[in-house]
């Protein structure tokens, strides 16, 4: 048996089976849906190891899932009293003829509905992300714990509480109505945005996992893009942003797995297809009146797909950061704006701007000041970099700063 087959199928099919079953059973039985999906894979490992992989593994998984769901309905008394009655009432059929619909359409609908349910505003954002990673992306508890730099127990606790909340609040697995859709979509997009960032900026060393997080975020956002009811400008703007960032995946790491900063990247390694896709989506997002922060961030990312410096590029980026900060302040946007300011108005103007920022416990702040002082005052540049080094927490960040200090010493000699 090919080694990667089961993990691959688990990643792609676990979520589909869980979503379809959960949609049918109701959110209060999400754990039963998850258990059935897990059991299906357990059985696959047992059977396939001895009898070989069936011709159509996916169809095999679905057939087993259907049977197990049916058995569950018959066997479990509590479950059958509560759910079966309801289901039988709906379908007007006996249990033996009861069908689990694993058609492509129902799979994709179920995942979309689950996305809205798991990203319900009644549960905290970090739980929404963990739940989505588990249920909709098929990540293991250990992988999620690894990404959040925490342990399995705390992720389990987080998932347990979130499910408990969904149960007690009795959140229905339905599509939000017309009036609510934009508001609910906002929460969903926040989760997907953070999920992507978790992969893109995570301090976890697990490279493959991090890329997978990003790809999963793209896949889920794509689900929204594909559906007429959710194909809205902010969705397309976020998807564009993800495409632009993802286009640099191949250029961000060297052979040793160390991060390569934007300026030092080989742009021939940037994925032109994703850049074109992002540009198309950003144009698509330009409909309607509302400019979301995803529009602005995607536009900034667009300008970064052009490697060469130009006055036009940095003036546009500066204006976009101005807009972004007015809409939604964040320290990282403030620092990036200052960098853009240095490109447009020179380093002295940027230093004056930076000094007003009040980010004295942020190591990026001192890294930026170090860069701004580089050709102006070597001592100050070094002092700031050392201050950055003392504040940096992750090994990756520390390494980058150490390199900068070494480089600046080298230049002086």
């Amino acid at each position: 048996m090919e080694n990667q087959l089961i993990p691959h199928l688990f990643r792609t099919e676990y979520r589909k089976i869980t979503s379809v079953l959960c949609k049918q059973f109701g959110i209060e039985h999400i754990e039963i849906a998850e258990d059935i999906a897990s059991d299906v894979f357990l059985l696959a490992v047992e059977v396939w190891t001895y009898k070989g992989v069936p011709e159509n593994p996916t169809a095999w998984l679905y057939a087993v899932a259907r049977n197990k769901a049916k058995n569950q309905l018959i066997r479990n008394t509590v479950f059958s009293e509560k759910v079966t009655k309801e289901l039988l009432h709906q379908t007007d059929r006996s249990v033996s003829r009861f069908e689990i619909d694993l058609s492509d359409k129902n799979i994709s609908d179920s995942q979309l509905l689950m996305l809205f349910t798991l990203c319900h505003p009644s549960i905290p954002v970090e739980s929404q992300i963990s739940l989505s990673l588990r249920v909709l992306c098929g990540f293991g508890i250990e992988e999620i714990a690894d990404a959040f730099l925490t342990n399995k127990a705390s992720i389990n606790k987080r998932l347990f509480r979130a499910k408990e909340r969904l149960r007690t609040e009795n959140i229905p697995i339905i599509f939000p109505d017309e009036k609510e859709i934009d508001k609910r979509l906002e929460t969903v997009l926040t989760t997907l945005y953070l999920l992507f960032n978790e992969g893109y900026y995570s301090e976890s060393r697990n490279e493959i996992l991090r890329n997978d997080f990003c790809l999963e975020a793209i896949r889920l956002t794509y689900l929204l893009h594909e559906n007429d009811k959710t194909n809205k400008p902010p969705v397309n703007a976020l998807l564009a942003l993800m495409c632009f960032h993802a286009s640099r995946f191949g250029a961000r790491k060297n052979n040793q797995g160390e991060l390569i900063l934007y300026d030092d990247q080989d742009e021939t390694l940037w994925n032109q297809e994703l850049i074109a896709r992002g540009t198309y989506l950003l144009n698509l997002a330009a409909q309607g009146e509302i400019i979301s922060k995803y529009h602005i961030e995607a536009s900034i990312a667009y300008w970064h797909t052009i490697k060469a410096d130009s006055k036009e590029k940095w003036e546009n980026i500066l204006q976009l950061y101005n807009q972004l900060l007015i809409l939604d302040y964040s320290p990282i946007a403030a620092l990036n704006r200052t960098y853009a300011l240095s490109k447009v108005k020179g380093k002295l103007a940027a230093i004056a701007g930076a000094e007003k920022l009040n980010l004295k416990n942020n190591h990026f702040y001192f890294t930026l000041l170090g860069a701004l002082y580089e050709d102006i005052d070597h001592e100050k540049a070094k002092m700031n970099l050392q201050r950055a080094l003392s504040l940096a927490k992750s090994e990756t960040d520390k390494e980058i700063i150490r390199q900068k200090i070494l480089k600046s010493d080298h230049v002086l000699k």
């Binding site: 500066l318 900060l325 701007g353």
Partner: protein
């Protein structure tokens, strides 16, 4: 942290700028506001278009626009967060409106709804 409103007063609101001038002015204003927002001290604001405006006077008199017999007019405002009036004044110093002869920026503290002010 208090809130202050910075009110832009224009001596001549009817002076029509060229599109190029407007573009430059917009950019300057955005840079100025962006600098305040980068400090997380921007709390909103807006421009007040001159066209289609009215002045209502006693006895039911309504005149077109705030111009004519009024020398100064308000072109817009922003609200900032600042520790003191001095800090708010520092923000005001950067306002591009001040490039215009006779223009001014009025800085006023916004009363809190705490029953004291």
């Amino acid at each position: 942290m208090e809130e202050y409103i910075l009110i832009f007063r224009h001596e001549d609101g009817q002076k029509i700028a060229s599109p190029e001038q407007m573009q430059i002015w917009m950019k300057q204003t955005m840079d100025w506001i962006g600098g305040i927002a980068a400090q997380n001290k921007f709390n909103g604001g807006n421009g007040l278009p001159f066209d289609d405006s009215r002045v209502v006077k006693p006895n039911g008199v309504v005149i077109n626009g705030p111009f004519g017999d009024i020398k100064e007019t308000i072109g817009g405002y922003i609200i900032v967060k600042a520790d003191s009036i001095d800090e708010a004044v520092k923000f005001a110093h950067g306002c591009p409106v001040l490039q215009g002869e006779g223009n001014s920026v009025e800085v006023r503290k916004i009363a809190k709804g705490d029953g004291v002010h």
